[in-house]
Amino acid sequence: MAHSDNSYPTISNVGLDGLLVTFAPSLSDDANRAALAFRAHIETLSWSEIQESASTLVSAFFRMDLVEHDPDAMKDKMAAELSAREWLDAPLPQGRRRWTIPATFETSAAPQLEEAAKLAGLDPHVAQKELCDHSLRVLTLGFAPGMPYSGYLPENWDIPRQSQLINVPAGALVVAVRQLIIFANPSPTGWRHVGQTAFQCFRPNTDTPVALRPGDEVRLTDVSKAELDRISATDLSGNGGADWELI
């Protein structure tokens, strides 16, 4: 997924709310890594002008008051950091976490696994194994608070969204375009429902409303539906039986 477009990275204002740094014109793994690394780098500088920052699929956003701070001066300051190195080759930031999240792929909880597997050119059992064997990265959180877009699955998983929307429950695993999402809430989606977790993406009444962070790694581990039901019934943390370690 390498690309060479020397008009990137770009820096632009988002209204008067901050600056957006975009590393590529289309989805790419190295641009996501660059966005994560650049955001982490700017955070270490603790600029007083920055109120908060976020990274999304191929860009990083720095919220700042562009009424008080001259946007051109801030763009120059940002450009100097951008030119300090080739961010597309930058290592991922430290302090990320590797999550292992239990998921079930039994048909009643994975109604479209077979269909998705067929589109990926795989037998359902092999598809399930591929979904569990690949360590995916949280590319960004969005759509709903704490909801991870993670990737990238192998090329054969570059399957399109379906035009017909389906309703999935909270914790549903859905796939499309080499990405995997754990749904935060019951919702209609055009992505295919291939499994189920008990992981709660958003826990507003706790000290840590969102457990995942962009850049974290996610690995699924196959459990029976009975085991997932047991976890759901006993889990108080919202992690749905997931563990994590620092990487």
């Binding site: 632009s12 204002n13 209204g15 908060e52 999304t56 956003f61 009424v67 704490g146 809430n185």
Partner: protein, 331 residues
Amino acid sequence: MGLVVHQCGPALAIQDMGRFGHLATGMMRGGAADTKALHEGAALLDQSPDCAALEMVGTGGTFEATTDLCIALSGASMRTSLNGSPIVWNASHAMQAGDTLTIGPTLSGTYGYLHVSGGIDIDPIIASRAAHLTIGLGALVKPGDILPVGRLQDMANRCIPTDKRFEGGEVRIVPSAQTNRFPEHLRNRFEQTLFRRDPRANRQAIRLDFDSDGFSDPSGLSIVSEIVTPGDIQITGDGTPYILSIECQTTGGYPRIGTVIPSDFAKVVQTPAGHALRFRFISIAEARDIETRARADLQKIKTRITPLLRDPHEMKDLLSYNLISGAIAED
């Protein structure tokens, strides 16, 4: 202790300035649609603009005071009475225990606000009392609810002049991340078009209605989802503009032709369905000047407060008022 809700409209919710600092987790700030109205209500009651108020769309409700308290009304004006006698909007009023406040249909604008002394004192979630229904925070206000009052104080009978943000009109916008991807002729036509606020509008986005062709940027479909901000004007695939509001998602994949300046955002959200909106690009430098002046004005908002002069025609029982004692004391 506070206001008991006896009956109410379908779209009442507690709001404050919202939740900042959570973009990285995918949470937009939410909060009151018209924060100018929060500042006006807070000035009337001489309290912090961070106090929570009741946001009302379409109509209000009937509220009974369980204790002596003070209220203020701001934002979209609504037909309002206290114990059956009409009271004025953009003003503060005293309520005694047992008094009934009735807030009826909206007269102009979209979002009306009922403030109470000390703010509505519910427990905060993630450092805010704002309802953000699409992400499961808070709930609509319903009959039987009690709105707890934070603090008792006497700031009644004060009023504040307001601006003309409730009937649509011209809205200033600045160039933003994708403005230059729209050809000049499309940007010009966007400025020349008289839009109407579509009835399809909520706290997430406001659809704009228009009679001409759409405003599609031919390269629009290739944008990778990125951070968006309230006030951004997205052009969807069929060429229709939507102005993103305070509960928009944190990211969006449609190109944005421009962003409404903060000073004109309240006008956008308050414009009633069917009313006209026209957009004008201004430079970032000009927008910064406008916003700097607007902030200075907001700092001085309390100097705009004046005593509420009561209209003798609206006084029900004129003889019960002692109208002349002040005049004698001055001599």
